[in-house]
Subunit: 415 residues, 2 copies
């Protein structure tokens, strides 16, 4: 099987100032194309370390993809290094030059010398045109290995991968099919699942691999297989995947690789219903998850993020007296929030949450991580208390996903 | 200088199903402690590849940190491998065993055989107790190098790093001080900045490094220096940093490493004012950014996420006629949204946004990426059209950060 390795370049990765999202995306695309990523490595903007990474990574794979280190500023040493590594000299690429000029003309911004330098590439590479930025990409060949250098700006890299790199690699190599089937469970731990499906796992044919991927209160189970006979592989994996779904059916959320908000969105679309949210402690995060889905206006009407008492009263009709006697984090308030949102936003379903996400604000009887979640419809509201013991960001995420799952269960049980 | 390398283990990293946030966090902590991270590498759950990574990475650094591959399920091979690599045999660690028992007792969940296996560690390591989960960490020594293995679950790894790993490394090595000073600019491109500060950059003393970090419409400029004389280094970097701030003062957002929402939050706290938001196209993302800050209820009152026309009319008093004649994405509607939010949420300042984030919904005169942003107070509302040409997620992020920056400027100019 054809193997690839990914090198990301940039000091910002090694001091942790930036989270590397490029590698994950690239790995997905390579995988879809039937190329196995065997390693990913990040190195700093340091000559010897980049050089050394090129040497080492080419021992591990036939394809070496490189991102980063191609910006217009002086901390970039990647291009001269590549030029030397592959034994060429820098020359202006006419296509890249025209591209830089076009971009600056379109943006009506003054072009400076530094911008035109972007159009230079080593004469031993094939330039890749950048439709989204000024820095061109580069294909190199050395000792039968393919090296591809791309800018680190995510949307520029993505454009090049889709338009040029993947099509080029697909033409160059005879690539197998890699098939993943993933299901999501919620409300059950990894160990418990492992016990539940132990016999299944032990009986799996050797070419099918099972992986457990726990994340944010959900555990994903993924089956993977690969080979050249696509139809046979699909058939084999389908048999196992069907069995697996049956085994975990009590905890099954979805049998495709999609987040909880998409599951809820699809369910609403299918029933031709809409929902709204009233968020206190999750502060708009549930709204953000739902509206990250293209076309979410079809099933999502909006939210009131009621951080202050005033917002809870004025926009969600929460009774002032309830707030004073029960406190904002209570079954009564979250139920009133849900009713108020349904009344004011006029949706079929609602999620309301109120809690204490930390680090401050905890009380003896309501410690940090406590949240009340209400889900329901005009006919019925069901409230539940949850408790997570993590940091603010994770408490918000877990509360949001749990709330979405509770609404999902409510819709399934009440229609 | 003491060098470290980070190995993350897991097939999910190589098929791109999971974004590696652990490495960035670990790199930050190591950096703060004066340890330079020279490389980060990710490998799959494959015996030879993990073994090979241990061999190779130990050539690059004195400290090798490993995360992942320690869960309770069958796809984990890391522990037996480490046992063989360092020449030991698995034995039960009594502390780890008691920890597993305590966790299950506390959670009132049945414990299974598999969970107790978590308490086994190679007899050639020093076990690290896991206060947040069942899998213990491990310290190994080999040929003068320190290897540390930790679980991949972020909050478990973080706890171990803070409580055990960093204190241990700080005791073991004489570590230098690494100092970063970072400022954020907005509204100006990387190339333009580079030209603006070219003389400054060329005159920098050799021990001070400058880096450009463009991200979401803001460019960060970072100065870095390190050594053993903390006071001298701080003094030297301060002189340069002061100069740099002066050079970019027209575009300066903040001179500490913090995101735009924190800058706005601090400004409001300082003026003892509050704000609210009315979000259509950003769908709660601005609210989420603001409420991710602990204590944000001090300056943030809430939001109306008005995805539907109904929500715009009922919760933000937007005129039905304005929506019909001007369309939701218009100066008039976004101005009415801002006024409505101020009226209903009763804050001092407001941000309102309405736009088309894509991929669908574009019109010839309002293409995907168009958004109207209004910022202001009861006295004055200022609206502005912006245009971004990226994917949905990036358009939402850029619109949100731009809106926050516009409010920041408004507050500075109107008080």
């Amino acid at each position: 099987m054809i193997q690839a390795t990914i090198i990301t370049i940039g000091d910002e990765l090694l001091i942790g100032q930036v989270i590397d999202t490029n590698s994950a995306w690239m790995a997905q695309e390579l995988n879809k194309a039937g190329i196995r990523v065997v390693r990913r490595v990040a190195v700093g903007d340091v000559w010897d370390e980049i050089w050394n990474a090129l040497d080492e990574e080419s021992k591990h794979a036939q394809i070496i993809l490189i991102t980063g280190g191609l910006g217009p500023t002086a901390d970039d040493i990647t291009k001269p290094l590549l030029c030397k590594y592959f034994g060429g000299k820098l020359v202006v690429d006419e296509g890249a030059k025209q591209n830089v000029i076009n971009i600056f003309t379109k943006l009506k911004r003054p072009m400076i010398e530094r911008n035109l330098l972007q159009a230079e590439v080593p004469d031993v590479c094939t330039a890749i045109q950048n439709k989204r930025g000024t820095a061109p990409g580069m294909f190199f060949n050395k000792d039968g290995k393919i090296f591809v250098s791309m800018p680190g700006v995510p949307h520029e890299m993505k454009g090049m991968m889709e338009d040029d790199v993947i099509p080029h690699l697909t033409k160059q190599f005879k690539l197998p099919v890699i098939i993943h089937r993933t299901l999501f469970t919620a409300g059950v731990g990894e160990s418990f699942l492992a016990d539940l499906i132990q016999d299944f796992e032990e009986a799996l044919p050797p070419q099918i691999k099972l992986a457990y991927l726990p994340n944010y209160g959900m555990v994903r189970l993924r089956l993977t297989s690969s080979g050249f006979d696509k139809i046979q592989i699909e058939k084999d994996i389908e048999i196992q995947f069907t069995q697996l779904q049956l085994l975990v059916k009590d905890y099954l959320v979805t049998n495709v690789d999609e987040p909880m908000e998409r599951v809820v969105g699809k369910l609403l679309l299918q029933k031709n219903k809409t929902m709204c949210t009233a968020e206190s402690c999750t502060g708009g995060y549930i709204a953000h998850l739902l509206t990250s889905i293209p076309g979410s206006s079809e099933f999502y009407d909006g939210s009131v993020v009621s951080y202050s008492y005033g917002a809870k009263e004025d926009l969600l009709n929460v009774n002032h007296q309830t707030l004073l006697t029960k406190g904002a984090v209570s079954e009564e308030v979250v139920t009133e929030m849900a009713k108020g949102a349904l009344q004011n936003i006029k949706s079929n379903y609602v999620i309301a949450v109120s809690g204490i996400m930390g680090p401050g604000g905890g009380l003896p009887e309501k410690p940090v991580g406590t949240a009340w979640i209400a889900v329901g419809s005009k006919e019925k509201i069901a409230a539940q208390k949850v408790f997570f013991r993590f940091d603010r960001a994770r408490n918000i995420q877990l509360t949001a996903v749990t709330a979405l799952n509770l609404l999902r269960q409510f819709i399934l049980q009440n229609t």
